[in-house]
């Protein structure tokens, strides 16, 4: 029911609340689906703008949005800026994949390992027919063309997950570039949002960049098979992502700010991550707090989590979902628990 009339009815005083959120582009496809479904179900309009995790954190800290969204957890400094009044709530699991534009490879799948990925993004490898790439991919005919790196131009949780992985597997990356939502890239073109990077890869032959899995899938972009810490070349599938999460057990008092990159386990995909919604632990607006809490509760239901797997995101593992459900009960408004 997307008619104009319905839309106008939604804006009348009889219509329900509206919330504004902003942040990560990583989960944008599933969030836009969720918010659309939830609006049709409950008439609650949740307006989400995918401006990047950095933007989500910033606007949340500034207080200009009701909730933020990020795949790079807030740092200690950022937590201090909100005086700890924030809860990180994981929503789904996703994978950061390396996508490329090499029509000449046909159906062949590119394989890369950690040192090679780091060196590509450090700018040390600038041609596709480099011997190190060829060594890992004996069955493929690599073209003799320039290798163009694409990265994010905006503050990004997807970036955070990717460079967090690179920092773990490459000492040179850790010391030279570091890990944050926005880094000083040694090389490459900048695209805005996962959307922009996907766009760039599609337009530029010979390019390679990192995006969230769903963007590669829905745009029919080929994905690199990455070698994990157990030495296996892994396809970034739902199972591989869930396996990565299984490697990290969360305690009851966890603040959910965990990194699951370079996870142990033979089936784990090495560049996987939770994505979080940033919600005030104690909100000044009780009505909005309740509306948001109700949405979060719906988000944990099988109905919503199945929409996620339908799109290519891994649903939250059962034990993690249980922990989140418990955490929802601790949300307060003005010091008192939400109704």
């Amino acid at each position: 029911m997307r008619s104009l009339l319905f839309a106008f009815l939604m804006t009348t005083p009889l219509a329900a609340q509206s919330l504004t959120g902003a942040g990560a582009t990583f989960p944008y496809p599933i969030y836009s689906k969720w918010f659309d479904a939830y609006a049709r179900k409950t008439r609650v309009q949740i307006n989400y703008q995918s401006i990047g995790s950095g933007g989500g954190i910033r606007q949340f800290v500034q207080g200009t949005v009701d909730f933020g969204a990020t795949d790079g957890p807030m740092s200690e400094i950022q937590l201090a800026a909100v005086k700890g009044n924030v809860v990180h709530l994981p929503t789904v699991l996703g994978a950061v994949v390396l996508s490329y534009n090499l029509p000449s490879l046909g159906a062949g799948r590119l394989k890369l390992n950690a040192p090679l990925i780091a060196d590509i993004f450090l700018g040390k490898i600038t041609r596709w027919d480099h011997p190190r790439i060829a060594a890992l991919n004996p069955g493929l005919t690599l073209p003799k063309t320039d290798l163009i790196v694409v990265h994010r131009s905006d503050g990004s949780g997807t970036t955070f997950v990717f460079v967090d992985y690179l920092s773990k597997v490459s000492p040179e990356w850790r010391s030279r570039v570091g890990s944050a939502t926005s880094v000083s890239w040694p090389t490459g073109l900048g695209g805005k949002g996962n959307e922009g990077v996907t766009q760039q890869i599609k337009q530029l032959e010979g390019s390679i960049g990192y995006v969230e899995l769903v963007y590669a899938l829905s745009n029919q972009l080929p994905v690199v098979l990455v070698r994990n810490s157990a030495g296996q070349f892994v396809e970034p599938s739902l199972e591989a992502v869930t396996a990565a999460a299984a490697g990290t057990k969360l305690g009851k008092d966890t603040d959910f700010r965990v990194s699951i990159t370079d996870a142990v386990g033979p089936k784990s995909y090495p560049i996987a991550s939770y994505t979080w919604l940033l919600v005030k632990a104690d909100t000044p607006d009780a009505a909005k707090g309740k509306v948001l809490r109700d949405f979060l509760a719906w988000m944990l239901t099988a109905e919503a989590q199945q929409m996620a797997s339908g799109l290519g995101y891994a649903p939250l593992p059962g034990d993690v979902a249980a922990l989140v459900r418990e955490r929802l009960k601790t949300l307060k408004a003005g010091g008192k628990p939400l109704a």
Partner: protein
């Protein structure tokens, strides 16, 4: 005013009227005051930490909290100057043609059509640039340039598509109507006696234009060019969609770059730290000051030539 003509209540109406329009007039400097104040307050943190060195250092590292705007300033200036290099000969050629050589009847319509280019929104230029201009440049014109002029560092290196040169080309199309329109006005203000005197002395039509008309209008034409520069410096949307968004100075025109306006558009909503936000506001302040100076210079030069000529309903 003779007493007999005074109407009762005149003083009230006049007071209200004068009050209303004065308020309106006051609003303008007040607005500007707010603008400068907010920019200054926002930028202060970065100004205190980095000083004027901000404008000449190159490190832009949000992780380390180190910011230097030199590549941004360089990119802004380079893209604008390149755009002028392309647009000025075209614009002047058209302006001279339309004032001196074209048949009477087509002058108006052609000027009109070219001025319509100024009405196209920047984001539409960006859309067209990404999906039409860049593929054409990437597949034919850039490789041609690299093959023929590749010995120059300007045309070396990988061809990405989004690049300094692509942005310069779209900027050239965007500023051309402004330069052409103002140059045309300025040339029309030149007294016909100038051209006639040159022709009487035996000059060809072209020589008459070059030796008599254009030098007379020279400062106005320079003003028109500087006006175009002012517009190019501040362009945001089309540039950010075509320039590649890479905060680095490269020798090659095929390499991506970044401009002050583009970095603000990309990073402003997500500057996660106070210093990052302040650095971006510092950039906005710098951009503002640069465009103020450039536009002031332009208007001064134009005013000198077309002094007194009514500009009618044209709000440039």
């Amino acid at each position: 005013m003779p007493d007999a003509v005074r109407l009762r209540g005149r003083s009230w109406g006049d007071l209200v009227f004068r009050g209303a329009v004065t308020l309106g007039a006051l609003a303008v400097p007040v607005l500007m005051g707010f603008l400068v104040y907010e920019l200054w307050v926002g930028a202060r943190l970065a100004v205190e930490r980095f000083g004027v060195g901000f404008l000449v250092t190159s490190v832009w590292d949000p992780v380390a909290g180190q910011f230097g705007a030199f590549p941004l300033i360089f990119g802004t200036l380079l893209s604008s100057l390149l755009a002028l290099l392309i647009a000025v000969p075209l614009s002047l050629g058209v302006a001279i043609f339309l004032t001196e050589f074209a048949p009477e009847r087509i002058r108006g319509p052609i000027a009109f059509v070219i001025e319509l280019l100024a009405a196209i929104p920047s984001v539409v230029y960006g859309l067209w640039g990404v999906f039409v201009l860049i593929p054409v440049l990437k597949s034919s014109i850039f490789p041609f340039l690299r093959d023929t002029l590749g010995f120059l560092p300007l045309f070396k290196g990988p061809i990405y598509g989004p690049s300094m040169l692509s942005a310069a080309i779209i900027l050239a199309i965007m500023v051309m109507p402004y330069i052409m329109s103002v140059s045309r006005e300025v040339l029309l203000a030149v007294p016909p006696s100038q051209r006639e005197a040159a022709l009487a002395l035996g000059a060809t039509r072209w020589e008459a234009v070059v030796s008599a008309v254009v030098p007379y209008a020279r400062s106005g034409i320079i003003g028109a060019i500087i006006l175009g520069l002012g517009r190019a410096l501040g362009e945001t949307m089309a540039v950010t969609m075509l320039i590649g968004n890479r905060n680095e100075i490269a020798a090659s025109l095929f390499a991506p770059g970044y401009t002050m306006a583009a970095v603000i558009a990309n990073e402003f909503t997500e500057a996660a730290t106070d210093i990052h936000y302040s650095a971006l506001t510092y950039v906005a302040l710098a951009l503002f000051l640069v465009t103020v100076v450039v536009n002031a210079a332009a208007r001064l030069l134009i005013w000198r030539v077309s002094r007194g000529r009514p500009t009618g309903g044209r709000a440039l």
